[in-house]
Amino acid sequence: MTGLDRASGVTDVVAVPAPSPPSPSPGDGGAGTAPGARAWSTAGTVLLYVASLAAAFGISALLVALTHGSPSKVFPAMYDGSVRSFGSLGYTLDNAAPLMIVAVGAIVSTRAGLFNIGQEGQLTIGAMAGAFVALKVHPAGGPVLVLALLAAAAGGALWAGLVALLRFWRGVEVVISSLLLVFVAGQVLSYALSRAFLLREHGANGANLTESDQLSSKVQLPHFGSYPHFNFGSGLLIALVLAAAIGLVMTRTTLGFRLRMLGHNATAAKHVGVRAAWLGTVALLVSGACAGLAGGVLLTGQAYRITPTISNNVGWNGLLVALVARNNAWVAIGVALGFGALQAGGGFLTTTGVPTDLVNVMEALVVLAAVFPPALQEVMRRRARRAAAGAPVAVGAPA
């Protein structure tokens, strides 16, 4: 079990996708509910989120003012850039799609108790594999696009497969190996971009790192509508279908049941016949495949070529989406859209002259504001539980 799994207060009631109230602390004789451990009222939770976000915006405004900007112009600009018009909404949706795909993959592994945090690298490898197929297979066309996306997923799965191999063969912690493989992936990308037989752009000279060739339009994801009208890439559809599929698998199938069992209590899962290594490998492969697919969507839907910064933190941010969504695939859809809006607004903001660094800080503040309420609630719940520890507390009793 990972720290995140516990801290995010994962709730686990079959077929109830919405966050359910915190489990009651076991009172003496199993009947009582500890004071303070009561479920937060909905109003209280909303209020906490509002206050938290208000604080984030307040600090952002302060930072803008300190850097001689104008807070009164900044926030409308963010709004303009993300959701105000159909055109800006399109940016939001396109930003959200890969985040969503990464996030639902992260949810699968985290729920299984394996904290894969290497999505950034798995995404990179996925994008490379996708690009290789898209550029090298001729003649280019629809089937090649599908093939490229599958290759991307396979690439991500392969990278996560290394993590699984290290974990179940040699007992290497998933957090460590998945993180370190991110950096290896970066090196692999540099190598591929410097070799003509791999991904290096034709006609490029010198030893400088370059980009790959641009993808032919036949292996680009279809885009519906066009700016300034309502528009979105088909990556969003892939993301939504995937999120729904994973949401259903986690709550409604025996596979999801076993994964959750594994995540909550691996020992007990083994005792009732769950093949932990096999299932854990599946979870890691799925999460890696999702990250890889996100790379494929980025490549074929937005970037159209491999650059050294193709991943652009989407892997890390997708992990954050999963964190904020408390590992619930349905919630992750909404959170990813929120992150997408934030990035679209932030991107627009930089065009109005606000320094990129500051925009990044503002985005980070909003993310923190979104993570803070559940973290605070969890801390308070634990406090209350500890204060009420007079009961015959089960395992993990504070002592």
């Binding site: 489990s23 004789g29 025996t254 909550h264 083994k270 005792h271 009793a397």
Partner: protein, 528 residues
């Protein structure tokens, strides 16, 4: 006894620890209701009560883990406020918890050094551990890793950890639930020494009547958060105490024999319920020459062989840490053998392949239900169906209606008291959690049921229920392997008793030929 106060003449010493009208509520539940309690130097006070009587809450108030709503605590006659365990320690209060507070990956001496001030000095800590262990006759290896210790050894380490701090009041919460008979006797000798020679005060929390009768000077009986009786132990009878603890008459012979602790075990052997010779029934579990080694090279099983016939209960007696856990793990498919075979119903089952034993018809009530037997953060319904997902799903898709159907049926059949099937298992009492595990395993109609320490930590009512259920399962033809460190439990239930020592079976006897002295010798590893 009169209330001792400061300034009273010698001979009536000031109580070391008092509870004065202590009240603690959790929501609507009053865990402790105006509890009055006194313990003096040089005496062992027993606190007797079932699970949920408020004993642990009371102790947690003494330790500063829980703040009282009303009333106060007095130490040596002075009212004090104890708001955290450090405060409690500074007042000389130390407790051995029911669930241990040792850190697994650390060595014993490192655990002792935790929370001490100043430099960490391995040599001196090891020496002090050795001294304390020797003074009290507790066998503890200071350099052993806690994770490698058996439950009984861990408890000894835990006790040493408390004694090393030189407490005035020494509190033990259900200390014998993990000890063998001999270890319990040893513990009570230590406690005697602690009060008589060193003039400390001891509080012994228990729901075992016999233990309280034998080991304490005075007993305070709690029921539903209240102190219902307080009396000197001398002159009290088990029946009286049981009546006050449970609040209803119980027949001592059958129902309570499990609650009566080990000390009287030899005398309390009950007659066999049905003594039909079982040796012609088919063998459903055969373990042959099983050998297994721990990752660190220790031998876990050393040529263990046993046979279990349909409808019989085989009690596996032995000092804890002699391979019982490994045998349980083997039959739960989480231990791989280096040699030997396991046959279930005549067919060999590969060891260490997840789910293979369960599929072959082995049900398992594991030793530590929180860790191995259930998933506390999943719902009651999930925990009830997790052993057999196939029956509640179609082509890999769970059928919610089917899940609920099974859950409700089992809840009714096994009288599990639960608010909602969707409530997390964590919210159930210990007895009900154990019923969930039992219900799940019996629902699969196993050929073999392995019950490891099935009544550990349960109260009288729950023990009674569990015992009856195991008997009934055997009567219905299931072969039951009862692995228990409570000899009393084995003698009450088993048709046949086998003794495990150092990873092998060293002796076997039918229930009619049980000779406790011989049993004791075998458990100690001596040929008898």
């Amino acid at each position: 006894m009169t209330d001792g106060r400061v300034g009273e003449p010698p001979g009536s010493p000031t109580p070391s620890l008092e509870a004065r009208s202590l009240t603690k509520r959790f929501g609507a539940v009053v865990a402790c209701d105006c509890v009055e309690l006194t313990v003096r130097r040089g005496e062992i006070l027993g606190i007797l009560g079932q699970n949920g009587a408020g004993k642990t809450t009371l102790m947690n108030m003494f330790l500063g883990l829980v703040r009282p709503d009303e009333g106060h605590i007095a130490v040596n006659g002075r009212p004090v406020v104890i708001d955290d365990p450090f405060k409690a320690a500074s007042f000389g209060l130390a407790m051995v918890h029911q669930h241990f507070s040792l850190i697994g990956p650390l060595r014993v001496w490192e655990n002792m050094a935790l929370g001490e001030k100043g430099r960490i000095d391995e040599a001196s800590t090891v020496r002090r551990v050795g001294e304390v262990a020797e003074r009290y006759g507790l066998d503890v290896d200071p350099r052993a890793r806690v994770d490698d210790l058996s439950t009984g050894q861990r408890q000894r380490a835990e006790i040493v950890k408390c004694l090393i701090r030189d407490p005035d009041v020494f509190i033990l919460d259900e200390p014998t639930s993990v000890l063998t008979a001999a270890e319990s006797v040893e513990l009570f000798r230590v406690l005697r020494q602690v009060v008589q020679e060193e003039q400390r005060a001891v509080v012994l929390i228990s729901h075992k009547l016999d233990e309280v009768l034998h080991a304490t000077d005075r007993v305070t009986i709690m029921r539903s958060g209240r102190v219902v009786a307080e009396r000197p132990t001398a002159g009290a009878t088990a029946a009286e105490l049981a009546r006050e603890m449970i609040g209803r008459e119980v027949s001592l012979r059958g129902d309570l024999s499990a609650a009566v602790g080990h000390l009287e075990a030899p005398a309390a052997v009950t007659a066999p319920a049905g003594d039909a010779p079982a040796d012609r029934r088919p063998v459903v579990l055969a373990v042959r020459d099983a050998r297994a080694v721990a990752p660190d090279g220790r031998t876990l099983l050393d040529g263990l062989s046993l046979e279990l016939r349909e409808g019989e209960i085989l009690g596996l007696a032995g000092v804890e840490g002699n391979g019982q856990k490994a045998l349980g793990d083997l039959l739960a498919s989480v231990l791989d053998l280096t040699g030997g075979t396991v046959e279930v119903a005549g067919r060999e089952v590969a060891s260490g392949r997840a789910g293979a034993m369960a599929e072959a018809g082995v049900g398992m009530i594991p030793e530590d239900r929180h860790v191995c037997g259930s998933v506390l953060d999943m719902s009651v319904a999930d925990n009830l169906v997790m052993g057999d997902l196939r029956s509640v799903s179609r082509r890999g898709v769970l059928r919610r209606r089917k899940v609920l159907e099974v859950a409700h049926r089992l809840i009714d059949e096994f009288e599990i008291s639960v608010g909602s099937v969707d409530a997390p298992l964590r919210s159930l009492s210990g007895g009900n959690q154990q019923r969930v595990v039992l219900a799940r395993e019996l629902a699969r109609s196993p050929r073999v049921l392995v019950a490891s320490q099935p009544t550990r930590g349960l109260d009288v009512g729950a023990i009674e229920y569990m015992t009856a259920r195991l008997r009934r399962a055997a009567d219905a033809g299931t072969a039951v392997l009862l692995i228990s460190s409570e000899l009393e439990e084995i003698l009450e239930l088993a048709d046949r008793v086998a003794v495990i020592h150092r990873g092998r079976i060293v002796g076997e006897m039918g229930r009619n030929e049980v000779d406790v002295d011989r049993l004791g010798l075998m458990m100690g590893g001596q040929a008898a």
